[in-house]
């Protein structure tokens, strides 16, 4: 009987040797005369266990990890093909607490299936949402999404259904779905994991959006730093077209929707939705003023749904199970789940999809297991490089958009970067300005010049030069940047700077 062994093809797993592990397993099977089929799945998101090898057994999938090629011989010897015990064995994957405690809606298939297999996708509940959408009027699809309470997962948290409704209501000869896959925030990887681990999910979500608003073309703007996601998407698009999931006759419905893939050129600002549209149009990636809203005048001036990968990837589940089912998760106005990403100095880094409302402490300790260094957590940055640095005193905050923002934080794309007590927060503040100086599109003055001046002022503060006056200047500069910048890049850069200054003033006065 053939035994199925899963070795992830996710680039996080590849980066720690999954390819060699897969080869070693194939070689070991051949040498031992074992009938083994190796499936290259996505990642389960428990990154400290990667490469996480799973074996399908009568008792479910048994996890082994992190597996080095040198461990493979021992695994065979331990009978891992039958789920045999071994030092690296974690028992059934589903039962690993980190995994078991999650609510995997969007990530339900990621790590479970062969990402590029049309059959796996269908067999694990894929396309049900799209098939239902085909039977619905556009406004009804939009209503379902409105009812779900789904909010934009790219950072701004704007209600997706409302955006879709605006695009549906706009009359134009052409509309577009533009998927923002320029996942540039530090410590984030959920978009990548879906694109590598379940790419059809994104395509299905885009098709649903297309049907909902009357768009026949979808564009994915993928960052160039994701070559594996690129390969996955290119293949998935080809196969989906060949299977009739995309194209002129989506699933035989007579409806048209196709997807194009475009690769960015290594610019953080192109993840800002209007700069992304400029870049998609082949122009220099510069931020456009709003209004006009992209929903009314987006790609090539046409009404466009611009959504992040996570937003679009939530749509199939919502259409499959209903908006109400989705809205049953979460708290307050933050409905559904968010795939949080634990990174930085954390023991158990990885992807944690849970409903909104969980606290930072739960994420950092119950899931993350504290720091990797074993030292005390001193600060975390939530929401990417433009997010606030929060001290331990804020760790009991629930991750819920409004209360979190009220406390000076930003959930953003759900990235959480952990620092232990050796961190120099003045350096981190300076880094925020430096990041802005490097990545600013250069269009608006406060961002273009202010970020460089910010760096210089922090240097003077740290050097003890007229500290009080320079702190006041830094605060004035942050106000100027916050209130006058054209987009969130310049507007939010003060957040990490001022939060560092507020919570860790001692680091600026050493």
């Amino acid at each position: 009987m053939t035994t199925t062994v899963y070795v992830p093809r996710d680039s996080a797993a590849l980066s720690v040797g999954a390819e060699a592990v897969a080869e070693a397993i194939v070689a070991g099977a051949r040498a031992g005369g074992h009938d083994v089929q190796v499936v290259r799945n996505g990642s389960r998101g428990m990154l400290w266990l990667e490469p996480l090898v799973e074996v399908a057994t009568a008792n479910g999938r048994i996890a082994y990890g992190p597996v080095a090629p040198g461990d493979v011989e021992g695994l065979f010897a331990a009978g891992f093909l039958r789920g045999g015990d071994h030092a690296l064995c974690h028992g059934p994957t589903d039962k690993i607490p980190y995994f078991a405690q999650q609510t995997r809606l969007t990530f339900a298939r990621v790590g479970v299936t062969d990402p590029l297999s049309l059959e796996h996708y269908r067999a694990h509940g894929g396309l049900v949402g799209l098939q239902r959408a085909i039977t619905m009027a556009p406004a009804a699809i939009v209503d379902e999404v409105v009812q779900s309470g789904l909010r934009g997962r790219g950072g701004a948290g704007f209600p997706a259904g409302i955006k879709w409704r605006t695009v549906l209501g706009a009359s134009a000869d052409q509309k577009y779905i533009a998927c923002n896959a320029d996942e540039g925030d530090s410590g984030t990887f959920s978009d990548r994991m879906v694109m590598e681990g379940d790419p059809y999910l994104l395509l299905e979500g885009m098709a649903i959006a297309g049907l909902a608003v009357g768009a026949t073309e979808g564009w994915i703007y993928l960052r160039s730093e994701y070559p594996d996601a690129r390969v996955a998407l290119v293949t998935a698009i080809q196969r989906a077209r060949a299977a009739g999931w995309l194209g002129d006759d989506v699933l035989g419905s007579g409806r048209q929707f196709d997807v194009q893939l475009r690769i960015g050129a290594g610019s953080y600002i192109c993840g800002e939705e209007t700069a992304m549209l400029e870049s998609l149009e082949g122009k220099r990636g510069m931020v456009r003023p709003k209004p006009p809203l992209p929903a009314l005048a987006g790609l090539w001036g046409k009404p466009t749904v611009v959504n992040n990968v996570m937003t679009l990837a939530a749509a199939p589940w919502i259409l499959q199970h209903g908006g109400a089912a989705y809205a049953a998760h979460g708290v307050g106005r933050s409905k559904g789940t968010l795939p949080f990403q634990l990174a930085g100095n954390v023991k158990h880094g990885g992807l944690v999809e849970v409903p909104f409302g969980i606290t930072l402490r739960e994420l950092l300790h119950d899931f993350g297991g504290g720091t990797a260094s074993g030292r005390k957590i001193r600060a975390v940055q939530v929401g990417g490089p433009l997010g606030a640095y929060l001290p331990a005193s804020r760790f009991d905050l629930p991750l819920d958009y409004e209360p979190f923002a009220a406390a000076g934080g930003m959930i953003g794309h759900g990235g959480i970067v952990v620092f232990d007590d050796t961190v120099d927060m003045a350096k981190m503040a300076r880094y925020a300005m430096e990041f802005c100086a490097i990545e600013s599109c250069g269009k608006c003055t406060p961002c273009r010049i202010g970020s460089t001046r910010g760096k210089e002022v922090i240097d003077r503060i740290v050097a003890g030069e007229r500290r009080e006056a320079n702190v006041a200047l830094l605060q004035d500069l942050c106000t100027t940047m916050k209130d006058t910048s054209l987009c969130a890049m310049g507007g939010l850069t003060p957040l990490p700077v001022l939060s560092a200054l507020e919570h860790f003033p001692e680091d600026f006065a050493r």
Binding site: G442, C444, T445, P446, L473, T484
Partner: protein, 950 residues
């Protein structure tokens, strides 16, 4: 930038039917829907600080100075990118806004040199103004931080400098290049703090930049600055006037210090150019004070005699005595005059009046003879008026444009930019031209069809297109039956529908695939508004007049005359071609295109002028040459025209000029024609006199004197003096009185006066009781002639055929940086771009002849030969070569032939059978030219002017 005395509303006007009422600083304001808050405030007299916004460009929102507070909204929206909404309450000033604006200014100045007092923009700098307005008192960041103050200056362009140390990266230059000019030569490179403006990989001169000046105009600081301002400082006053280059007729402000021009700036309110310009009008005005200017009258009895400098009185008296002597000896008709399309309407009117009333004959012609005479004939015959049907703004409403025999990006660059704006906005384009002109493919513009016809087959192409329209049922029968002569239409329809006019029958002749002809015809016929723009590639053919009529047929059959967005639009070559024709410069027509055979018209003029008018047409220019050679024509007064260089078959022209007993040349330079002259009367440039020019859209605009005539007299005064000396005194104190006389005598001008032009800015004729403010679009209710007339346009091949000896076809034209005979532009820095005429040849033809790029080749026709440098380019089609005629020593017209339009004698410059031979030295004619030029230079007074192109 504009003088800071010119108000800038921040964002462009948004003409809209609906209006919006809001409050700005408590003040009620009503503006058209779509207007920005910034503009609305400016209209209400509230000046919100701004730097990246200017009313010639779409809002950009980068400087963050124009922030405002809007009641009920979060944050501080930029007023430039925020549209007015009903009931909106806007606050433009508050403590908080002041702090934010000062904070932004503080950042700007932290990366800006503190050299205001020695900066060329001092006193006219928006950054300086904003520092003042925002109350910036200190830059707390200091000046030791990272900055751009060591960036090197780019001085490669001869007219302006690019000083990146002054740059605030507002992108106004980039946007001006994109939105206004449409060249897309500039970009922002790098990002973040490293963002800088770049013109290609090296510098401005080596970039795609066409030096239109739009970027310099848009720059709010001295980053892009005219070298003339760098050298001379800011102007102290400005005078509104009109460009003296091409037929677009751009309105300019001559910015002055005393009587010295320091800068020419396109006028924002100019209705032809809306604030845009090209390299010629914007920068190439230095010729006006070039040392080559002729400033003293000179006479001599033979052209081999030395010139003698004399007083105005002596020169005028001598000229008059010679005319009288010749007329006494050879008869009244032995003399004539040539008017200039480079001179004003008033001057042209006076020259033809001098000929008709002073000389007593109709021997007057104009340079339009050699350019747009077929337009006059063709449009008068079909539509009833010798003029284009539209204004330039009409293009905004065009859905499909045909550009035939015109190269607007070179010849009419400012209008070409308008066309490109419309094309980028979605209009379709059909280019009919033997060459792949720039419009065929230019950034963000691509022709839907390029029909690369063989030179000389315009009529075949237009007939084939009309055939498709008629036979495929695409004709607008309803329009035609209501607006045109039906019997004539039926006749034409039968003709055009005949199989001999089908694309399939004509494709071999014209060299355009039948499928392209059909596709283009369908595209044009089915477009909502179709407009046809054409140039000298239409008129300068043996069938020039036929082509013009074929164009009119095509426009009528598709219902494309009589409303905005459509029409037949001749692009006039020189500034006042339309005007010189309007003013009665042709030998058969009195002002207003009225035939001299009409007794009533003659009577009107005879009464006003107090002399009888001859009832027979006089000599055309080529007739004058022939008559000079056969001995019956002896005296000629040429004002502002260089027939020795511009007319075809140079050797024939030279022989004619040598045959004259008295050639009076009035010119600002010792031009080629002047080398054959006996009397040289110094001319005055457009900066030195008052008058009017009429552009290609019939727009009469004022030319205003900004400096006294260098030689003491304006051209109109010279003609008046000559007339007086001839015994026919004219009584004018000012050109406005000449215009009053024109208005009195010309039905299409009765409403025109200088006062009204001053009031309206400019006037498009007809301007009379029926149209007191002028006529932007003609033939709206009915055609001027009543019913439009279809004319059967049988295609007749030119007699100029290629042979074994002359297997290639030469066609001629011009380029962006030079103008016509080049007398003006060659005396400017424009020579940096084009210092010699070159011969463009297809690689295949070059290969066959062993010609390599850049080598000197001999260009030979049955008329003569000359030597030029070869440029091997795929812009050409095989079998066709191309050159320009901007440099006299090129001798291009030595090669062109005597063939001309059957109706008007307009020369066939565009088709000459030639051979091209590799490895050539100067031709015999060129050697003769050199020695004649040096002989003539030797005859000049030692202290006087220098010769042409030495």
């Amino acid at each position: 930038m504009y003088s800071n005395k010119v108000q800038d509303f921040g964002t462009p006007a948004r003409p809209a039917a609906k209006s919006v009422a809001l409050q700005i600083d408590g003040q009620p304001v009503t503006v058209p829907a779509g207007t920005s808050v910034l503009r609305a405030a400016a209209l209400a007299g509230v000046n919100i600080p701004k730097l990246c916004a200017t009313d010639s460009l779409e809002a950009f929102g980068s400087c963050r100075l124009c922030l405002v507070e809007v009641e009920g909204r979060r944050g501080f929206p930029a007023s430039c990118t925020t549209h007015c909404e009903p009931g909106m309450k806007v606050r433009t000033q508050s403590r908080k806004l002041a702090d934010l604006r000062r904070g932004v200014m503080e950042l700007y100045i932290s990366d800006h040199p503190l050299d205001c007092l020695t900066c060329p923009a001092n006193g006219n700098c928006e950054l300086q103004d904003m520092a003042g307005v925002t109350g910036l008192r200190e830059v707390r960041y200091g000046y030791a931080g990272e900055n751009h103050l060591a960036a090197p200056k780019d001085e490669s362009n001869p007219y302006f400098t690019f000083d990146p140390t002054k740059c605030i990266v507002c992108s106004r230059c980039v946007r001006a290049c994109d939105e206004i000019q449409g060249t897309f030569a500039l970009t922002v490179q790098g990002r973040g703090f490293g963002s800088t403006i770049a013109a290609g990989p090296t510098n401005f001169l080596d970039s795609e930049c066409v030096s239109c000046g739009a970027c310099v105009q848009a720059c709010p600081t001295s980053t892009l600055m005219e070298k003339s301002i760098v050298d001379q400082g800011q102007p102290d006053h400005a005078v509104d006037t009109t460009c003296a280059y091409c037929g677009v007729g751009c309105a300019f402000r001559a910015e002055m210090k005393g009587s010295e021009v320091v800068r020419m700036v396109p006028h924002k309110d100019g209705k032809a150019n809306h604030g845009h310009s090209c390299i010629k009008g914007r920068f190439a005005w230095g010729y006006a004070t070039h040392p080559d200017r002729v400033n003293t009258p000179m006479i001599r009895s033979k052209i081999t005699d030395p010139w003698r400098e004399v007083s105005w009185d002596e020169a005028i008296a001598y000229a008059a005595s010679e005319i009288k002597r010749i007329q006494a000896r050879y008869g009244k008709d032995s003399v004539g005059g040539i008017t200039s399309s480079r001179c004003t309407n008033e001057e042209t009117y006076l020259v033809q009046k001098l000929v008709r009333a002073g000389f007593g004959n109709n021997n007057v012609d104009t340079c339009a003879r050699v350019c747009h005479s077929p337009t006059g004939y063709g449009l008068k015959t079909t539509l009833g008026e010798s003029a284009g049907t539209q204004d330039f703004d009409s293009v905004e409403h065009t859905d499909c444009m045909i550009v035939i025999g015109a190269n607007p990006t070179d010849g009419h660059p400012v209008f070409a930019s308008r066309m490109k704006q419309r094309l980028r906005a979605g209009a379709t384009l059909i280019v009919i031209d033997p060459r792949r002109i720039d419009l065929v493919r230019t950034p963000h513009v691509a022709a839907d069809f390029h029909l690369p016809l063989k030179p000389g087959t315009n009529v075949a192409v237009l007939n084939a297109m009309a055939h498709v329209i008629v036979t495929e049922g695409l004709a607008r029968e309803g329009y035609v039956r209501e607006r045109c002569e039906v019997d004539q239409y039926e006749k034409w329809k039968t003709f055009i529908a005949s199989p001999k006019n089908s694309p399939e029958a004509l494709e071999a002749e014209c060299g355009v695939p039948a499928a392209s002809l059909r596709g283009a015809a369908r595209l044009f016929a089915k477009a909502g508004n179709g407009a046809i723009y054409y140039g000298l590639g239409v008129t300068e053919h043996s069938q020039g007049s036929t082509t013009v009529m074929a164009i009119a047929n095509l426009a009528m059959v598709t219902g494309n005359i009589g409303r905005p967005g459509v029409g037949v639009n001749p692009l006039r070559g020189q500034n006042n071609v339309q005007g010189s024709c309007d003013m009665g410069s042709f030998p058969h027509e009195l002002p207003g295109y009225r035939h001299v055979g009409d007794a009533g018209v003659r009577e009107l003029f005879a009464t006003t002028w107090g002399v009888p008018i001859q009832d027979e047409p006089g000599l055309r220019i080529p007739n004058m040459f022939d008559a000079a050679i056969d001995g019956s024509f002896k005296g000629l007064y040429v004002q502002g025209e260089d027939i020795a260089q511009s007319d075809p078959d140079t050797k024939h022209v030279q022989k004619a000029l040598e045959s004259l007993e008295c050639l009076i040349v009035q010119d600002i330079f010792l031009c080629e024609t002047a080398k054959y002259a006996h009397v040289l009367l110094p001319g005055s440039s457009f900066l030195e006199k008052d008058g009017t020019f009429t552009n290609a859209e019939r727009r009469i605009s004022r030319v205003r004197k900004v400096m006294p005539p260098l030689a003491g007299m304006a051209d109109w005064e010279v003609t008046v003096a000559l007339s007086r000396a001839l015994g026919y005194p004219m009584h004018y104190d000012h050109p406005s009185q000449v215009m009053d006389e024109i208005a009195l005598l010309t039905p299409t001008f009765t409403g025109v006066s200088y006062d009204k032009i001053d009031r309206l800015g400019s006037i498009q004729w007809p301007c009379n009781d029926a149209a007191p403010d002028g006529t932007p679009v003609m033939h709206e209710q009915e055609f001027v002639r009543g019913k439009g007339r279809f004319v059967v346009t049988e295609y007749v091949a030119t007699p100029e055929r290629t042979t074994r000896k002359f297997p290639l076809i030469l066609t001629t034209g011009r380029i962006l940086s030079q103008y016509n005979v080049g007398a003006q532009t060659r005396r400017t820095e424009n020579k940096v771009w084009h210092d010699a005429d070159v011969l463009e040849i297809h690689p295949h033809d070059a290969e066959q002849r062993g010609i390599t790029h850049g080598e000197m080749v001999s260009l030979q026709s049955r008329k003569g030969e000359t030597t030029l440098r070869a440029v091997v380019t795929e812009r050409m089609q095989p079998g066709v070569v191309y050159t320009t005629f901007h440099h006299p020593e090129s001798g291009v017209n030595v090669v062109t032939t005597e063939n001309s339009d059957w109706a008007t004698n307009c020369p066939e410059y565009k088709v000459t059978a030639v051979q091209v031979v590799a490895h050539a030295k100067k031709s015999e004619w060129q050697r003769g030219f050199d020695s004649f030029a040096s002989q003539q230079e030797g005859l000049l007074p030692k202290t006087a002017v220098r010769g042409d192109v030495r």
